[in-house]
Amino acid sequence: MDCCPSVKNILLLDSEGKRVAVKYFSDEWPTNNSKLAFEKALFAKTLRTNARMEAEIVMFQDNIVVYKFVQDLHFFVTGGDHENELLLAAVLQGFFDAVTLLLRNSVDKREALENLDLIFLCLDEIVDQGIILETDPSVIAGKVAIHSMDGAAPLAEQTISQALATAREHLTRTLLT
């Protein structure tokens, strides 16, 4: 535990447990099959829980998994058994809110797949080989959006201000609740 906090994987699955985008940072799951088995078991275990309002948490195969659902998307962040749970929750929240900003509040599987490049970039900006890069959703979304394509691309200049507006709105919401 004396080492740097680390994330073992980040998963974004759909409502049937299929992959939308996943990223593994640990060699605990060396093959694609072992990854799929992990996803399947985790999905089955968490399916019946209510993780739509607040992020939920579960001990799973000697790991800590925090997760959150919205529409037909399931977000998961996995860390070691001795990891600080709240720290993992912060990563999850950062990922979740950044995706919400990038997809302009319509967070569902179809939007996610249509903007899959943004989701990949988002994952790339949150964690680098297990080490947390950034947890602030507006910073993450900002970094991804700046790198986004030209004017015709999904997230253009005006959407950044829109994204920031959503961030502000989000902030007020958290302050009020």
Partner: protein, 886 residues
């Protein structure tokens, strides 16, 4: 050939499985990737193709070596485009492809150009990509840029360089270590995450230098740390410093104030990290715990599941060592039993079971009963285990706990769960005599309707051992015989064996058991019939009721003292012949694994890796081991085996520790030897023991170790005779003697000629405590009263100046080698007096109880009143002698 990324014309509403990647196919996408080679690049199109490629990889598709190389070269062309978004996707793609060394060269110059670009985003990403794919030689070329990047004013660039540094430290530490000045500067950065990454890297660079880490922590705990993440990191490093300092410093714990102040931080993440760190401090006191417990208690009623989980998990751990400290949270904890999140509910339950006292058991059981129906099996197992330990703690409450276990045994459940319950009931029956009859009946009822063959046979076996010893064995017969009618062959065979055991042990039941066994002679299964015939002949002798003789009892109840692996090989080697198979020909010694398969080069278990496969360590195993050696087989019952004592310093050529085995008239020293030199093979290893300072002992026999290869532990034994029943003490000096042969570690060839050599070991003592076995009693007062004051001896002792009361108490406990009862080995902080209760069994099976009363006065002078009760006059005196001479 190319499909548009988004099929706008599809009717999306009707299509449940809409996906822009529907029908995507690797071959087609690889074809599409040809657009990367177009002279006029379309950035948008290229981005889409990269996304598709990434999608394929993400779904678990793999590219062949040729495909990957082709894609890689095509992607490198895209560096020509100035489109920022496309460049970003190119970076991602290169990282995913993880190119080989000769391919890396192709992109190096492009990436190096980006690394020195004016665009921050290019710099940050190029650093991360290049450091991911590069090797040591290239690193020296870009080192200058990385150092600059670490102190770059743009936080994204600085973080990218620092995080890359953390990864590179694993492969090329010597280069990264040169950056410490820059990293040091970055620790002072105003950007929150830069500080976090810099701190992590700096600590890793210096982690082997305790003084430097301590300095780092000291300076940072005084200054300001900006991000919660960095603060968490600092807490971790601080606890590390505390742990290492604790051995040298006394008095107030350094840095505790810092941890305590973190409990008031504004970020919950930091508060929790600090609280957890405090609860995990070595030998944490109640005063130190209190503030941490208080914040965790607040978290228990949070609306966030993550927070509740974190708090209850930590409190659960605290409850194992400091149950009293957690009792304050019991009310909040009880409300968590109905928590939506079953992990939280289970942790709450088990915490309550740990902290509960005798009076709260019944209420708690009622709450758990409601809760059990709606949790998963794996949680139920945790609860069952917690209830088992609770029952062992409060044996008087066995009735309600046993009822609970039998109730849940009747409910639906999987194998693992049922097994946990059955195991628990078996343990309770063994440890709490009053619970036996009740528990056995519950098990009988269970096998009446049990779908698991394994559990049925286990229970039948257990019933056969315990059932005949009860007051009314006949009531179990019906349950057992029912099995013969209703179950599969495996269970039927087990039931026949159990019936035979009842017949052998209970003479009154013999005629009836024989009638039942005879019926089994017509069973459809061979094994069942064979067993019935066998038992009728061994136990029965033509239906006459006679006393079962000892051989038969040994046969029925004795355990097989031959390793199963050995009997298996012997049976395989046996060829059907005139000569019947002789079980005595099976070797009893446990074979050590051959060297070849054990040792893969360069695969030393690091740190906490696999425990060394050494000799068995439990008393049971020791007993088996010793009785398998002919020289020691007539020593009688093993009284006690002490914990191993090291006779060599750590990291010497030969590692030797010794286990003392005490018998009534003998003492056996078991020397566990390990050869740590790959180039040597030791043969004929013995320990020459000089017992001139142990007058009452006479050397009897020794058993040399024939061969001791590298890193494969072996044992050699020396046995001594001593006067019977007397706790003889003495000092022994040891010398390891052996023949050493050279080994070529690469081929494993051994040279023929050996040289005799000796190796001095440390001395070994047999002390009075070796003759006392740690045996606890559940209720000390009852045991004390029942032994009575006939052989009570009371005396007072002055123990002289001591560091603390706790130190004096633990010194006396270890001197006597007895089991502290009712948690009295723990001395409350700052107390001036303490009572400690000990129990044990003295050699010759004499029960001994000790009551120690300690007092301490101003200049740390400790006085002690020692009261001993035992079943034997001499033993009581002996205990006093131990203390007087200690």
């Amino acid at each position: 050939m190319a499909q548009p990324l988004v099929k706008k014309d599809d009717d999306r509403d009707d299509e449940a499985e809409y996906s822009p990647f529907l029908g995507i196919e690797k071959g087609a996408v690889l074809q599409e990737a040809r657009v990367f080679n177009d002279p006029q690049l379309d950035p948008r199109r290229c981005s889409q193709v990269i996304t598709k490629l990434l999608y394929l990889l993400n779904q678990g598709e793999t590219f062949t070596k040729i495909e990957a190389t082709e894609v890689f070269f095509a992607v490198t062309k895209l560096f020509q485009s100035r489109d920022i978004g496309l460049r970003r996707m190119v970076y991602l793609m290169i990282k995913e492809l993880s190119p080989s060394a000769d391919e890396v060269i192709i992109v190096t110059s492009s990436l190096m150009k980006d690394m020195t670009s004016k665009t921050d985003m290019y710099r940050a990403n190029a650093i991360r990509v290049l450091c991911r794919i590069t090797d040591g030689t290239l690193l020296t070329q870009i080192e200058r840029y990385l150092k600059q990047a670490i102190v770059d004013k743009n936080p994204v660039v600085a973080s990218a360089a620092l995080v890359s540094g953390i990864h590179l430290l694993q492969t090329t530490p010597e280069i990264v270590k040169r950056w410490s000045n820059e990293v040091q500067e970055a620790v002072q950065s105003r950007a929150a995450l830069v500080q976090f990454h810099a701190l992590a890297l700096l600590h890793q660079i210096r982690q082997n230098d305790r003084l430097a880490v301590s300095k780092l922590v000291t300076s940072l705990t005084r200054g300001t740390v900006r991000s919660p993440l960095a603060q968490c990191l600092l807490i971790r490093y601080t606890t590390q410093v505390i742990r290492e300092a604790a051995t040298t410093q006394t008095g107030d714990r350094p840095f505790y104030d810092f941890l305590e102040s973190c409990l008031r931080h504004k970020a919950e993440m930091v508060i929790f990290e600090a609280a957890r760190a405090i609860t995990e401090l070595n030998g944490v006191t109640n005063r130190e715990l209190t503030p941490a417990i208080t914040v965790l208690q607040l978290f228990l009623s949070s609306s966030k599941p993550v927070l509740r989980f974190a708090a209850v998990r930590t409190l659960n751990k605290v409850a194992m060592t400091h149950p009293m400290a957690v009792t304050n949270c019991n009310i909040d904890m009880e409300s968590l039993i109905s928590d939506q999140n079953r992990s939280i509910a289970t942790l709450a339950i088990t915490t309550l079971l740990k902290t509960g006292n005798e009076s709260s058991v019944d209420r708690l059981m009622k709450q758990i009963t409601n809760f059990m129906s709606d949790i998963a099996d794996e949680f139920k197992i945790v609860v069952v285990e917690a209830i088992r330990s609770l029952c062992l703690k409060f044996p008087l409450k066995y009735r309600s706990l046993m009822n609970f276990l039998s109730n849940i045994l009747r409910e639906e459940g999987g194998f693992e769960y049922k097994k946990a319950i059955v195991d628990s009931i078996v343990i309770l029956i063994r440890d709490i005599p009053d619970a036996k009859e009740n528990g056995l009946l519950h098990l009988c009822e269970f096998i009446e309707d049990c779908e698991f063959t394994y559990l049925s046979t286990q229970i039948l076996h257990f019933l056969g051992t315990e059932g005949p010893k009860t007051s009314d064995p006949s009531k179990y017969i019906r349950y057992i015989y029912n099995r013969v009618h209703l179950e599969n062959a495996t269970v039927r065979a087990a039931a026949v064996s159990t019936l035979a055991k009842f017949g052998a042990m209970v003479d009154a039941l013999k005629p009836r058991v024989f009638v039942l066994l005879r019926r089994c002679l017509y069973d459809g299964d061979d094994e069942v019939r064979d067993r019935a015939t066998l038992y009728l002949n061994t136990v029965g002798s033509d239906g006459e009721v006679i006393e079962t003789d000892k051989d038969v009892k040994d046969f029925l109840f004795g355990s097989l003292d031959i390793p199963l692996a050995n009997i298996e090989t012997s049976l395989k080697n046996y060829e059907p012949a005139e000569q019947p198979f002789d079980i005595n020909s099976v070797p009893k010694e446990v074979k050590t694994q051959p060297l070849a398969e054990k040792k893969a080069p360069g695969k030393m278990p690091a740190g906490l890796g696999a425990p060394p496969s050494g000799p068995p360590s439990t008393v049971d195993a020791y007993e088996k081991l010793l009785s398998s050696i002919p020289e020691f087989s007539d020593f009688g019952k093993l009284f006690k085996s002490a914990a191993p004592v090291e006779l060599t310093e750590a990291e010497t050529e030969y590692a030797v520790n010794v286990v003392k085995h005490i018998f009534d008239k003998h003492v056996v020293f078991q020397y566990n030897c390990t050869n740590t030199i790959p180039e040597q093979l030791l043969e004929n290893v013995t320990v020459i023991v000089d017992a001139s300072e142990a007058e009452e002992f006479a050397e009897l026999a020794s058993k040399p170790l024939r061969s001791l290869p590298y890193d494969s532990p072996g044992q050699t034994f020396v046995a001594f005779e001593k006067p019977e029943g007397v706790p003889a003490v003495g000092k022994f000096s040891n010398m390891l003697r052996f023949i050493v042969k050279e080994v070529d570690p690469t081929t494993g060839d051994v040279e023929d000629d050996g040289v005799e050599d000796e190796y001095q070991l440390e001395d070994l003592e047999v002390v009075a405590a070796d003759y006392v076995m740690k045996v606890g009693v559940s209720n000390f007062r009852n045991a004390w009263e029942s032994i009575g004051p006939d052989f009570e001896r009371v005396d007072e002792y002055g123990l002289g100046p001591r560091e603390s009361l706790a130190e004096a108490v633990s010194a006396v406990i270890s001197l006597l080698g007895m089991q502290p009862c009712e948690g009295t080995e723990v001395v409350a902080n700052n107390s001036r007096s303490h009572t400690c209760l000990l129990s044990g069994v003295f050699i010759g099976n004499v029960k001994v109880l000790v009551r120690l009363q300690f007092g301490i006065d101003g200049p740390k002078e400790v006085a002690m009143k020692l009261a001993v009760r035992s079943e034997d006059d001499n033993v009581s005196d002996m205990i006093h002698e131990i203390v007087a001479s200690g």
